[in-house]
């Protein structure tokens, strides 16, 4: 949820952990735990309780540890909280570590079919043993079914312990297996076995439990890649080119899925779209540029290594002024890094991608909701500005299910195709010149192949004049290069503005971007609750607009919160605004796991001058 209310402590009439705790599920990948974990999360969501799921998975297909973290937050906080209240320890290999992670007073559930060593027990937590494997072996046939259904059994156990409404869980299973009766039956059976086992043996429900609220009406649970793919479809994108890379792959998968349903010509059954799975990212970006040059809205989803490969072409698109939309779902670098972990480490790479003087428009969505709207907007910007536009999402936003307000679409929307001359317009003009600044906004006119003989021009990455001709003349070259710089000034007025949450502080502020937002908002509540007066600005795009300059100027001590080692946002701010560098203090998080609010609070408290923090600390 985007706008968490300021309340952060339990009100007196609610039991302490009601609708406010974290479940972590430790599984082995490839054992089908995802469906059980989604079932748990969705059930709580359907009960009207704000919830967030985060998946920590390995770069592997089968057999390695994977964790799923569900944060239930009646206040709507979406970030990691830093604590684990209930651990479902299904992976013997990571058991020792998982036991250690549980916060004091917490709970742990494990499969007691085989005994776990006593030394791993803890006195300050409650441990539940349920013979999950034995229950499944006694009830179900087939090795695979037994492994899969074990997960549903523990979902049933949790249902009883946490007081999740059984009917909601049943309904969700019914929806998942609507056309697979036998699967539905075995899943329902497994759910009940777990539920009843817990009811009969444990004191259900625990003090840690859920109770129906009404906070998720008009909300959905969706991941950022799916939302971005929807945005591409609604923008009218017709050409998608890509090369598979985690964590961006699901974006094109989702786009394909939507197209197969909504982009089929009703009369002929033919496709109103083209998706090209290319040989590599060099080709993917080439295809995007070729298609956009030829008048189709086109895009490519990728991640850091792909952007590295695309650099040469990105410079061509910048200089020859061809629109392109690039989704960079950031993952941990450098090099192959940790492909299934999250970071915001491609800011500098994207901002100045390619050789020579280049600068690019970047958008920073903070959630699936913004992925949707910004995806659509990125095409308008790319075509209006005739330049590559990057949507810098990340694995946390892209691949995790986030609760967000139901996406809306304005039927009045029409794509802004930018300054493209039609055959009629060409007929009327004396002569067409490709790179002339006719309107004073530094954006020239373009034409599409096949329109009119008068519209023909020669696109090149080599030196060109404002008339479109080849040149090696210094003055002619500079005229075009200087206009491109002015075009970036025009971009400042078109990109999404920063979101500012000001309480009138003239001293302290936090500046952040993208997926840090949830953790920052929670940290703000915690800090303000302690009496720290602090403002917040979330930048949503590069180039930075005037409001960013103004905010930076208005505060004397600014914490830049971001998820990379080298303080890339801070670097970009110092390079591209007038801010005094010494005012900017970094709070950096780059472990590969999403940032938590506690890290931000600690960062602020550690480095803010004491006199300003005297109150309440």
């Amino acid at each position: 949820m985007q706008h968490a209310p300021a309340s952060n402590s339990a009100s007196t009439d609610t039991p302490d952990r009601l609708n406010d705790f974290v479940i972590k599920l430790a599984n082995v990948n490839g054992t089908g735990s995802a469906s059980a974990n989604t079932l748990l999360m969705k059930s709580i969501f359907r009960m009207g309780i704000p919830v967030m799921g985060k998946n920590y998975f390995p770069s592997n297909i089968q057999g390695l540890p994977t964790w799923y973290e569900i944060r239930i937050s009646r206040d709507g906080y979406v970030a990691r909280s830093g604590r684990i209240d209930f651990m479902v320890a299904m992976n013997a290999e990571t058991y020792a570590k998982d036991v250690r992670e549980v916060s004091p007073g917490g709970y742990l559930l494990y499969d007691s079919t085989w005994p776990r060593p006593a030394l791993l027990k803890r006195d300050d937590i409650t441990i539940f043993g349920v013979p999950l494997a034995r229950i499944c072996n006694e009830t179900f046939q087939g090795v695979r079914a037994r492994i899969l259904l074990k997960n549903i059994v523990y979902a049933g156990v949790l249902g009883a312990l946490l007081d999740i409404e059984l009917d909601v869980m049943r309904t969700l299973l019914g929806e998942s297996y609507a056309n697979k009766k036998s699967l539905l039956d075995s899943n329902l059976k497994a759910l009940e076995l777990g539920y009843n086992y817990a009811k009969e043996r444990f004191a259900c429900p625990l003090p840690l439990k859920v109770r129906r609220m009404d906070k998720t009406a008009d909300h959905i649970m969706i991941d950022g890649n799916t939302a971005a793919a929807l945005g591409c479809m609604y923008a009218g994108a017709t050409v998608g080119a890509w090369y598979p890379i985690t964590p961006s792959t699901s974006l094109m998968d989702a786009f394909k899925g939507f197209c197969q349903k909504w982009r089929i010509d009703p009369e002929t059954g033919k496709r109103n779209y083209v998706i090209v799975q290319c040989e590599d990212e060099l080709a993917a970006i080439g295809a995007v540029i070729g298609a956009a040059w030829n008048g189709a809205r086109s895009f490519t989803p990728t991640s850091g290594p792909g952007i590295s490969l695309m650099n040469e072409f990105i410079g061509l698109a910048y200089y020859a002024e061809v629109p392109a939309v690039i989704f960079d779902i950031q993952r941990v670098g450098p090099s192959t890094g940790m492909p299934t972990r999250t970071q915001q480490c491609d800011l500098m790479l994207a901002a100045y991608a390619s050789h020579g003087d280049t600068r690019h428009v970047l958008l920073f969505p903070n959630s699936p909701e913004e992925c949707f709207y910004m995806a659509a907007q990125s095409f308008d910007l790319a075509e209006r500005l005739q330049t590559p536009v990057f949507v810098l999402s990340d694995l946390d936003i892209g691949m995790n299910d986030w609760m967000c307000p139901t996406l809306k679409w304005d039927d009045e929307y029409r794509p802004d195709r930018g300054k493209v001359l039609s055959a009629e317009q060409l007929e009327q003009i004396e002569k067409f010149y490709r790179y002339l600044d006719k309107d004073g906004d530094a954006i020239p006119y373009r034409t599409l192949p096949g329109t009119h003989p008068k519209g023909a021009y020669f696109t090149r990455g080599s030196g060109h004049t404002q008339y479109g001709g080849y040149t090696e003349d210094s003055t002619e070259y500079q005229i075009v290069l200087d206009r491109l710089k002015r075009k970036f000034e025009t971009a400042k007025t078109l990109v999404p503005k920063a979101v500012i949450d000001s309480r009138g502080s003239t001293s302290l502020a936090i500046v952040s971007l993208g997926s840090c937002d949830g953790a920052v908002r929670e940290a703000l509540d915690l800090l303000r609750h302690r009496g720290v007066q602090i403002d917040y600005m979330r930048v949503r795009a590069f180039p930075f607009g005037q409001e960013v300059e103004d905010f930076l100027a208005a505060h004397s001590q600014i914490f830049i919160v971001e998820q990379n080692r080298d303080a890339q946002l801070r670097a970009l701010l110092t390079l591209e605004t007038a801010v005094e560098k010494s005012k900017l203090h970094s709070i950096l998080h780059y472990s590969g796991l999403p940032i938590s609010s506690t890290a931000i609070v600690a960062g602020v408290l550690a480095s803010a001058p004491e006199q300003r923090l005297a109150v309440g600390v």
Binding site: I289, H452, F458, Y470
Partner: protein, 351 residues
Amino acid sequence: MSFIAKPKVAHPGLPRNELGLTRRDYEGGMSTLCAGCGHDSITAAVIEACWQMSMRPEQLVKLSGIGCSSKTTAYFVSGGHGFNSVHGRMPSIATGAIAANKDLYYIGVSGDGDTLSIGFGQFAHAMRRNLNMLYLIENNGVYGLTKGQFSASADIGSKAKKGEANLQPPIDPVLAALTLGGTFVARSFSGDKEQLVPLIIAGLKHRGFALIDVLSPCVTFNDHEGSTKSYEFVRDNYEEVVHADFIPPAREITAEYAEGDAMPIALHDGSRVLLRKLDPSYDPTHRGKAFNYLRDKLAQNEFVTGLIYIDESSPEFHDMNGTTTTPVNQLSYQQLSPGSKGLEKILARYR
């Protein structure tokens, strides 16, 4: 170097095509290549082909990579859009452009460096996709624009200008195309307009990826004795196996051919290529046999030229994709957006 627009003077006596256009109307900017460069002859052949086809100039899209050869797209049909992209990556630009609008003619011009070294991957994959385009390699065995280094098409033993011999085996684009599934594979010579012009027309009309590897001597860096890509060597070791004549729709095949020598192949728009087999044993519709024939001849240092292989029946890129008839860049927004009602339906799953 500068871009010089050629003055367009229409002499009343110049022959006109069906559109009433003269050859002049298919010219481009003034070439800045070395005098005698093979590439300029290929440019002339393209102009002739487009004029003969009565192509509307704006229907032609000219794509290229980087190199002397890739520059030539600026020297023909200035009424069509051109895109001089990056080195070796023209095939991906073509992929996107063709994806966006399937109804134009696409011609890609590349060099042996552009195609067989830096761009070999893209070349192979464009062919796999069977993009509906004509792909010309202006093959001179060297990197012209970077001043004469050997390219991957240099033959073993071929000598550089300063005498150094190439020791690595060449990549033959025609053999490569035969193994990679190319559906129109031809070789020609920049000095043989009579052979080249109909091949260009047939290649543009071919439904799918048409490759013509055109031997095109570099007079500045690779036209000396000891080079296997010099004018002299190519002329002496040049063997045409199948000559292709282009027959427009509704025109009779008039010339007389000995039985078995002539083979008409129907193109999708009703025109035909008439193949005249100069070696009666040769079968240009049999991939395996064509491959073996070429290999044997190459072993004897003979360049087989002509239309070496043709397959008009394989699905091209858009056939495989199942794309709708209207080019996707011309679909209306209403056809592309499911609207707010559609969004409600889509989001039901996410509640």
